[in-house]
């Protein structure tokens, strides 16, 4: 009896640093990472090559001679029609479109979500359902009604019109996120505030908003991505002076003069995607946390 106890396993279980399970796990992850990183790699590498090198080599080979000429050209020299000032013009235009659209769309959607979670009224769920179905409508099919609508309220061709359009089309998903998030805030908190005499706006500003940072981050990221990447509305509701960056990108990529300058195209593409990319890289952790709060609790 005693002997058995002495010879059997004892103490902490030995751990293998490189168990076959771990190797497989990391192997799979690294392999998948390659798939995800490949396009970014190709874009960066291509943008740093000169045109002759691109014609000769393959897309994956690293540049033999690194040149930033394509970046300079994309930013400040590429031509569309008779304008040769690249993307630079579009950058500030995009910022000017982004900021008010972001503020308005998130404000409206957060109030919607708040009303839908704690202040339900007769019909509120019906409107919400319509909104959600609206999320499935391709924007392009709504182009004409929207044009007519904006014409009727006199906002066609105005920055205000564009902001409105972004607010309207951002509303379904954002409202869903905010609604889910605010629903997950304990109802007792809301009740306590009502007993304390706070009203609709009092509870929103004093209780709910300070608690909603994670979901605001998610909403912000989604909207920055959506608005920054938008081409369709940007091109229709602005004028050449105020074209956003994506319109300039389209113009650069689709204006083929002689040969396709892949390096300039890739540089322009990367420059255009930089703002959302930076925001993603900077706020990745918050994003996941916010998603956890807003999307999961259906």
């Amino acid at each position: 009896m005693v002997d058995v106890a002495m010879t059997g396993p004892r103490g902490p279980k030995p751990k293998k640093a490189f168990s076959s399970r771990n190797i497989m796990l990391y192997g799979i992850l690294i392999l998948i990472s390659v798939y995800y990183l490949l396009p970014l790699y190709v874009m960066i590498v291509t943008s740093l090559k000169g045109m002759p090198e691109i014609r000769l080599g393959n897309v994956f080979s690293p540049p033999l001679e690194i040149t930033t000429a394509a970046w300079t050209k994309a930013w400040s020299q590429a031509c569309t029609g008779i304008n040769c000032d690249g993307l630079s013009r579009g950058f500030w235009n995009s910022v000017q479109i982004l900021v008010p659209s972001l503020i308005l769309s998130i404000s409206v959607a957060s109030v919607n979500g708040y009303a839908l979670s704690h202040w339900k009224f007769k019909g509120s769920e019906t409107f919400f359902t319509i909104l959600i179905i609206g999320a499935f409508i391709p924007y392009q099919t709504m182009l004409y009604p929207i044009v007519i609508l904006l014409r009727e309220i006199g906002l066609m061709g105005d920055l205000g019109g564009l902001v409105l359009v972004h607010t309207v089309f951002g509303m379904p998903i954002l409202t869903l996120l905010f609604r889910n998030y605010f629903t997950s805030i304990p109802e007792e908190l809301f009740k306590a505030a009502r007993v304390d005499g706070a009203g609709f706006w009092g509870i929103y500003f004093r209780i709910m908003l300070p608690m909603a940072l994670p979901i605001f981050v998610v909403a912000m990221i989604l909207q920055v991505t959506g608005i920054w990447n938008d081409f369709l509305f940007g091109v229709i509701y602005t004028k050449p002076d105020t074209y956003p960056m994506t319109v300039q990108l389209n113009n650069i990529v689709n204006s083929v003069q002689g040969v396709k300058e892949y390096n300039v195209n890739m540089a322009a593409t990367l420059l255009t995607g930089l703002v959302p990319l930076v925001i993603y890289f900077a706020s990745g952790k918050l994003f996941v946390r916010g998603i956890a709060a807003g999307a999961v609790k259906g």
């Binding site: 007792e188 908190l189 007993v195 304390d196 706070a198 608690m211």
Partner: protein, 360 residues
């Protein structure tokens, strides 16, 4: 004007086709500690929310201090409320939590400071005032939550299972504190719980609820000793009351191999007609060991299972074909398989009509 603090008249509440409260009437005296007790889903929290104005009633009226508040906003009703999950505003300090309602009511600053200081003193949370709720323990949080009701300087306090999220020891401590608080403040308190110990210890009166109706509204002693119906009888008391089905025939209860005279029983009405009845016997009212002889009836039962609990020992057995539990002294020597002599004092029993389940 009556001296009723809270009155509820013919209250109905339904969500769609589901009636949660049905024609409910309740009068709560000034300064009374009333406990709403019942199992989950009985409508006790719903009722409390209606009193608070957090739920819109379907029909009926609610008066607080003689004023019809049926459609008044929660903050206008003169109530303070404490929630099970504390519901402290996480981004505000304790002080902020306490003063939030007062700021909303636009009270002068010095008045707010005075009231916060007083509440903090009463609850002994002065050192915590600058902290945020996240940095507090469960017990501290609940004190703050109580404090938040306290500063409102209201007549009626509403408690929605305030101790349920605390561990057993803290719960017992805070229970005592609540009782002291009530003695000190003498406010009307309405307290929702599913814990009968809390109900029995705290309440001036208990309202036992089931299916959206009040089954019995009475002092703890009466609820325990004279439950108005079988549901209340079974709900109050742990372990639960033993029920034995039988016949009432000429003042004698008869069941399979078991007969007992009810001569000493305190009938709720004058001598009822003969018919099927249920006899209720509380496990702790069964006489054992040297007290067996003082019972109106003596018999022997077979112990199936013995649960020693220290102070006393619970014995599971069988009487007249029904499960039968009784309590013995903790020092009693008894084990499964023993025949145990027991005595029954019929004056402490309860008899219920089988059909209506009402106490006879």
């Amino acid at each position: 004007m009556s001296n009723h603090s809270v009155e509820i008249r013919n209250l109905d509440l339904s969500f769609g086709a589901v009636n949660v409260l049905k024609d409910l009437n309740l009068d709560i005296h000034e300064g009374e500690f009333l406990v709403l007790l019942g199992s989950s889903g009985c409508g006790k929290s719903t009722l409390l929310n209606c009193i608070a104005g957090l739920l819109d009633v379907t029909d009926g009226q609610i008066f607080i201090k003689g004023k019809n508040v049926t459609w008044a906003e929660p903050s206008e009703r003169g109530i303070g409320m404490v929630f099970q999950s504390y519901a402290l505003y996480p981004q505000m300090t304790v002080e902020g939590n306490l003063s939030f309602g007062l700021k909303n009511a636009r009270l002068p600053k010095d008045e707010i400071a005075k009231r916060v200081a007083r509440a903090a003193e009463i609850l002994q949370i002065e050192p915590l005032l600058k902290r945020k709720p996240g940095a507090l323990s469960g017990g501290q949080r609940q004190r703050v939550a109580i404090g938040r009701a306290l500063v409102r300087d209201v007549d009626v306090f509403l408690f929605d299972e305030p101790l349920s999220n605390l561990d057993a020891k803290l719960r017992a401590d805070l229970r005592v504190e609540l009782k002291r608080l009530h003695d000190q403040l003498k406010n009307t308190m309405i307290y929702v719980t599913h814990d009968q110990v809390e109900a029995m210890t705290l309440a001036d009166r208990i309202a036992i609820m089931k299916g959206g109706q009040v089954m019995q509204l009475d002092s703890p002693a009466n609820i325990y000793n004279k439950p108005r119906n079988k549901y209340v009888a079974g709900f109050i008391g742990s372990p639960a009351m033993n029920f034995i089905e039988g016949e009432l025939a000429g003042g004698v209860f008869k069941a399979e191999g078991f007969e007992a005279s009810l001569a000493e029983y305190d009938w709720a009405t004058s001598a009822p007609a003969d018919g099927p009845v249920t006899l209720g016997l509380r496990p702790e009212h069964i006489l054992t060991e040297d007290q067996v002889d003082s019972g109106t009836l003596r018999t022997q039962v077979l112990a199936d299972l013995v649960e020693p609990m220290g102070a006393d020992t619970l014995v599971w057995s069988n009487l007249a074909g029904h499960p039968f539990r009784f309590r013995m002294d903790g020092q009693a020597v008894v084990k499964a398989g023993d025949m145990v002599p027991v005595g029954i004092d019929m004056s402490r029993a309860s008899v219920f009509d089988v059909a209506s389940e009402l106490r006879l």
